[in-house]
Amino acid sequence: MEEKTLLKIALVASLAGLMFLYLISSNIEIKEKNIEKITLENKDEFIKLRGIVSNLVNSEKVAILEITQPQEITVVLFKNKNSSININKGNEVEIFGKVDEYNGKMEIIADRVRVVS
């Protein structure tokens, strides 16, 4: 195959990829969950939620956050993965994690927490 032909096809492919990327990007929606809608049915589901840190208990290995939306949910954050994050009371945070149940109450085992403001 001639190099020019190869390059022409590659150019068309990369432009198609770029256009496709543009079209898809407007449809990418990371589903956020409301605390009130988290039920036992969502157990083990990976979700994202946003809220304000209303209480924070910090220990060496784990941080337990109370997140208010205004409904409240407990978020457990193991620090080995997220030790570089500084979270304070009053911060607005975005949480990615798995839904779990503890003593009959729903909670989130956080995979990562991002401080939004």
Binding site: E3, G17, F20, L21, F96, D111, R114
Partner: protein
């Protein structure tokens, strides 16, 4: 969001250039860095953007990793089998064309695989459990066939001996606890340094390299190689234990004897298809079959259809760009290889690889490098195919499935 994805993809392509042309630096290393610093990175990029970064890097890497394999004789598992035919062309002054053949394989197999994505999405969850029972026996049959077709008892014996020696070495190395980057010393010795030492001993000189369009492969051969790459590369992307290196051996036997030109298309294609179709495995059966997809899985856990489409777009974009990049960088490699003394270059590469092996795998890595180099020289002395040394990866897989 578009701008963020575009920046992530371009950064990924840039990272792919770095990992692709640097021997010993694998995408798994960068993917691991992305995952371990995701808590920080997620303040800048969304998680799907980090996925776009990883997939763009991985696709670019699969195009560019043939450069060190062909010009420097420093392969990775995915490119190990391209070293010999690539080097043969390099010694004929056609190193650039060898690279071009792998690009043709990578690019057109990628297009074929993307076209077949709906089929893969349908078929992968249905055949996943059924087919893996037979992998071990299929590999035994192929290895037996590869040995039988060697001419004469001596060659058959040496082929078997090389397969077993490298296989046992592979078993030892891959089950060794706490060994960083086990494949690097193993494959560098079997396929890279052994070939460079042979070249040094034979006082090989690299002729003037021509940047030409001379090689003409019959369309039928090219289609056969691209078809085999798409089929076997996709098998490697969802079946456990099988990687691009193992399926290259299967692919070359399935399609019959391919001449070295078409073989380069096959090897280039398998590598890229494996990376692209492994996204289907993540989407349909939620399994990661390589380090890059494992990193994406760590970040996103599972992917839905919109994220899969996003990754397909990034794959297509990165694949197209990678064609230009690889051809451009191959021209630079050609200029460099013409200017430097080949013996000095061989010694420099051997030293560089040795230092990298020591850095990643310490003294035990050096020991593996020495043993694997010794085994890697044998095919050249007894004049049998170097692909028998792939026993280092195939024997462990056979035992995994059969025992």
């Amino acid at each position: 969001m578009f701008l963020e994805f575009l920046i992530a993809s371009l950064l990924g392509i840039f990272a792919g250039i770095f990992t692709g042309i640097t021997p010993g630096i694998h995408i798994n290393l960068v993917s691991l860095l992305v995952v371990s610093s995701s808590a920080y990175l997620s303040n800048i990029f969304s998680l799907p953007s980090l996925g776009v970064f990883i997939i763009s890097m991985a696709i670019t890497h699969t195009f560019l990793d043939t450069l060190p394999a062909i010009f420097l004789g420093a392969p990775e598992a995915e490119t190990a089998l391209s070293v010999l035919p690539g080097h043969k062309l390099l010694l004929k002054g056609m190193g650039y064309e060898a690279v071009k053949l792998t690009i043709i394989g990578s690019f057109f197999s990628l297009l074929a695989a993307l076209f077949l994505f709906p089929f893969f999405i349908f078929i992968v969850p249905r055949v996943y459990d059924k087919i893996q029972v037979y992998i071990g026996y299929l590999l035994i049959a192929i290895i037996a066939y590869m040995i039988i077709i060697e001419k004469g008892f001596d060659k058959k014996f040496w082929s078997f001996a090389i397969f077993m020696l490298s296989g046992i070495l592979g078993l030892i190395v891959l089950t060794m606890p706490n060994l960083g980057q086990p494949l690097f010393p193993l494959l560098s010795g079997l396929f890279g340094i052994s070939m460079l030492i042979v070249s040094l001993m034979q006082k090989v000189e690299i002729p003037k390299q021509n940047i030409t369009d001379q090689i003409r492969i019959p369309k039928k051969e090219s289609i056969k190689a691209i078809g085999a790459a798409t089929l076997t590369g996709s098998l490697a992307s969802f079946l456990p234990g099988l990687g691009p290196a193992q399926v290259a051996v299967i692919g070359s036997q399935i399609v019959g004897s391919l001449e070295s030109y078409a073989f380069l298309i096959l090897v280039g294609g398998i590598n890229t298809v494996n990376m692209a179709v492994s996204l289907v495995s993540l989407y349909t059966i939620e399994k990661a079959r390589n380090g890059a997809v494992l990193a994406i899985m760590e970040l996103l856990h599972s992917i839905d259809l919109s994220i899969l489409l996003l990754f397909i777009a990034a794959t297509l974009f990165a694949g197209g760009i990678a064609v230009f990049l690889t051809l451009y960088l191959a021209k630079i490699f050609v200029k460099i290889i013409e200017k430097v003394n080949y013996s000095i270059m061989c010694i420099s590469v051997i030293l560089f690889v040795t230092i990298m092996v020591f850095y990643f795998s310490s003294w035990i890595g050096l020991l593996i490098l020495i043993v694997s180099t010794a085994i890697g020289i044998v095919p050249n002395i007894v004049n049998v195919k170097r692909s028998h040394s792939m026993g280092c990866l195939i024997l462990p897989v056979i035992l995994f499935f059969v025992l």
